[in-house]
Symmetry: C2
Subunit: 202 residues, 2 copies
């Protein structure tokens, strides 16, 4: 590793932290520079504009949010195996990186067209097709009830991700508890698996 590379790395780590925390509008180049232990001038030397730096961070984050799911959806296996895999692996990602979903979804909403187009590619379509076939197979076998595969996938993603985004609102609903919420999130992995399987079984 050259020293260039090391500085660039520090910048990327600092930028990720600040952008994830504050979003594009709330992030300050000054703060990113501080976190990286350098000054603004150097920051602009590596990434000319805030926009370019943001793009670097955002594309990694978006990829982290979708690629794993795409791979799993296409994997050979029964529907039940796919469901368990998605829940396990996706939970791992968001537990390790709790601010990721909020960041990606907030920024995606601010500028949907800008990013969606480049990510709706053949991979996405193939992945979903594979999942749809798995679902239809089980319906035909009679092991699960008639259900729209898109709604099912949306339900799974909703149940996994929402608690990480909606945490403060859920705390309002429950009435306080901060420690308990963490415990709930930990128990949630198995809870969701059972919940979904019950919901679809015949």
């Amino acid at each position: 590793m050259t020293k260039d590379n090391s500085t660039e790395q520090k910048i990327l780590e600092a930028a990720e932290e600040v952008f994830h925390e504050k979003g594009y509008d709330g992030a300050r180049m000054q703060e990113i520079a501080q976190h990286a232990g350098i000054n603004k001038g150097l920051l602009h030397y590596y990434f000319q504009t805030k926009d370019k730096l943001f793009e670097a961070i955002f594309s990694v984050a978006l990829n982290r949010m979708v690629s794993r799911v795409h791979i799993i959806l296409e994997t050979e296996g029964t529907l039940e195996e796919k469901i368990d895999l998605i829940i396990d692996q996706y939970m791992n990602i968001v537990l390790k990186n709790p601010s990721l979903p909020r960041f990606v979804i907030t920024e995606l909403n601010k500028n949907p067209d800008r990013f969606i187009a480049r990510h709706i590619n053949k991979d996405a379509k193939n992945a979903f097709s594979a999942f749809l076939i798995s679902v239809q197979k089980e319906i035909d076998k009679g092991t699960i009830r008639q259900i729209d595969a898109r709604q099912l996938l949306m339900n799974m993603i909703s149940l996994i991700i929402f608690p990480f985004i909606g945490r403060p609102i859920m705390q309002v609903f429950f009435g306080a508890n901060n420690e308990e919420f963490k415990k709930l999130l930990g128990e949630r992995r198995e809870h969701i698996k059972i919940f979904i399987k019950n919901a679809i079984k015949k």
Copy 2:
């Protein structure tokens, strides 16, 4: 209505639109003034600071997100009735105001402590207690399986709200379709009711 009131009203409507769309950091006083058909000076005459104007908008939004649910949770009735009521009424709110959940949750996440404390009151605790009792009653009767009431409530809220926040990411997963997504949202009300009831029944 006096003329004062009318101008204040115009400001509030404009501010709601801009804040909901762009968030606190992205919103500009200039843009709010334009939308209201006035100038920045007058805007500051009514609401001295951006912060105060934001507070006025945000408190209404947060209230819209939680009060209805609190009321329903406390209403007399069976668990099934409560579930249907929450889904129906909450769906109505977000369908009428699709940007509401995104706005509230994004801002809440940026500054959790600032707002949560004042909303975790006796109402919240009573509401959730009432729901918890309803759930326990059904478990005791043997009509539903053993389940954590907090997880169940979180699941309901997740299934209702997430699609409105996570729409762009779901479009990536599905591979495009914009019109279809609206159709999915419309069909979702009944879908969720069935999904949840199947998930909890014994």
